[in-house]
Point group: C2
Chain length 342, copies 2
């Protein structure tokens, strides 16, 4: 039951009665090859089921036809969608996709990137787990590894990036709540290590300050991006004496958690609490009423990132390019209007 070793150029060359060099020329279509010899080689290759060994090719030519993708969490629908899009785009240019989830863990991210580097992948698409420590990324960039940052952009890193206007999206959402008379607006966000959390929080704070509202730390809860943590955070926020009248959640998993928690506490949307979530999701049109969200053009991120990466792989040496998509506030039914004395 030993693993049968596959046929090599040497086998093909022998079968076609030519040298390895000639076989390679025929198979790859370069240099001068006699048409008769070429035919013999091709026939032999087909007959023996020759496939070529990417590993050997990679060793000679530098780099496996692989693109690495390091998302924060592959189970998060956002990243799953992006992964799918990257996969499709990469396949279009004969690249394979290697996905290694950092699970929002900086140590793990470092190890994974080291790994990808050792594998000599052609390039990487990364959603960095932390805004603080990115020396490992900086080194990769410095060494010349093509890297594109998505979703979370580190400004001091000289490489391409694709993301949405997180600050603007969050600001628009909170301003919408303010415009509807809300003043006690709660926020559930990720650990501030994560860039998007930081930016969306900035949008929240900027909106409040632009309208002369105080920023109350008791209205801000930090949660990791899992349903259970979001439930806990929501319950914490809404069991305070002076209850918030509105809630803004920074990603769809948290919005899901908030929905579940509010239901279990017995608070109705939008009667008791208004809700806006960042990132649209299936569930949002499911509930009654449907949830108002800040939608991002998820489907564009992957393809654009791959395109930029391929440009770099092909040797483009322009200064870093940064793509920013605008978000769109989709008003559904989860925000109520509060009338207050002027």
């Amino acid at each position: 039951m030993a693993r049968t070793k596959s046929t090599t150029v040497k086998d093909v060359a022998a079968a076609a009665n030519v040298s390895r060099a000639t076989a390679a020329r025929a198979l790859n279509g370069y240099g001068y090859v006699g048409s008769e010899a070429a035919e013999r080689v091709l026939e032999a290759a087909a007959r023996l089921g020759y496939r070529g060994n990417r590993v050997a090719q990679a060793l000679r030519q530098g780099g496996l036809p692989i693109i690495g993708f390091v998302p924060g969490d592959i189970q998060n629908p956002f990243f799953a969608r992006v992964a799918h899009d990257i996969d499709v785009a990469a396949r279009g240019s004969k690249h394979n996709l290697l996905i290694a989830s950092s699970e929002e863990n900086l140590e793990q991210e470092r190890a994974l990137l080291d790994n990808l580097r050792a594998l000599n992948v052609r390039g990487m698409i990364v959603a960095p787990a932390s805004a603080n420590d990115n020396l490992h990324l900086a080194r990769l960039v410095r060494e010349g590894t093509p890297i594109v940052l998505i979703d979370r952009v580190l400004d001091d890193l000289p490489c391409d990036s694709v993301a949405v206007d997180n600050e603007g999206g969050a600001r628009e959402a909170v301003e919408h709540l303010i415009a509807n008379g809300h003043r006690r607006i709660a926020l559930i966000q990720d650990d501030a290590r994560i860039v998007t959390a930081r930016d969306r929080q900035a949008g929240y704070i900027n909106a409040l300050q632009a309208h002369g509202l105080p920023v109350d730390r008791r209205l801000i809860a930090v949660s990791s991006s899992t349903v259970q943590h979001a439930i806990d955070a929501t319950i914490r926020l809404f069991s305070q004496p002076e209850r918030p009248t509105a809630l803004f959640t920074v990603d769809s998993v948290m919005t899901t958690g908030a929905l579940l928690a509010l239901r279990s506490i017995g608070l109705a949307i939008p009667r008791d609490v208004s809700l806006i979530g960042f990132d649209d999701f299936d569930l949002a049109t499911f509930t009654d009423p449907q949830i108002t969200v800040v939608a991002q053009p998820v489907g564009k991120i992957g393809p654009v990132a791959v395109k930029m990466l391929l440009d770099r792989i092909r040797g483009l040496s322009e200064p870093p390019r940064h793509v920013r998509f605008q978000t769109r506030l989709i008003c559904r039914g989860s925000v109520s209007r509060i009338f207050r004395p002027a």
Copy 2:
């Protein structure tokens, strides 16, 4: 801005003033190395940031430290979950995960497997897109490539597999509906090419026949596993003259579609229609009432598959092993009791 080539053993050896062979011995800890020389090598390696080149290692030793995973669709929460579990398990044994989604397309699956083979991956975990044509898989197995089938098992393929009792789970669900007095029970399923669809349909039919109920082709709709297609299928089923009183959907994406469609038609669950879905999902506990489902132990599939695969990679040559998990019917509120004259 040329890509700096990374440091090699040669560099390290030169820096430590020894030969490549000695450097390799020191780095990998085999053979005889003088303690003083070893120290110099290690120091030099650390100083130069030596990392080793997996590609070269793979060429020499046969096989990249990579496990290939070919799911039907990475965006499907089921596969995303399994992918995550595989990733974690694989990382535990120093393997990377390469995900290539077949998108339920047989041609693409063939191309992807060919690709993985050419990359010399150590083994593959596959959810075959089609029950019919699997010569490509058979050849891989014959050649000795370690392969584990998950979710969808092809009985005639001599390799390990991990799946759930699809027939039994579906049968239990339909019997539950029958026990509650339902007789016109509709089914929305995948293309019958897919093994799970076939098995779950078998469970549906077996349940009906065991209770002397006719199998009515008009109650069976085929849909692909996307929300939109499931919506269409549901609408088709429920716009027939004699409307079904119950619906069984074979995966969570379809259940989601069915929910949306029924709501848009204005049919209430469970008053107008009873519903059971295969595979539990977030949404199921979200709706009012919550949805009754056939739950599968999703979290066990990935780890078990990786374990079996690693055994094979390590050279285990026992006959194929087949793991089957039992499903569990979770009764929530989406099934109503119909009383009928005896």
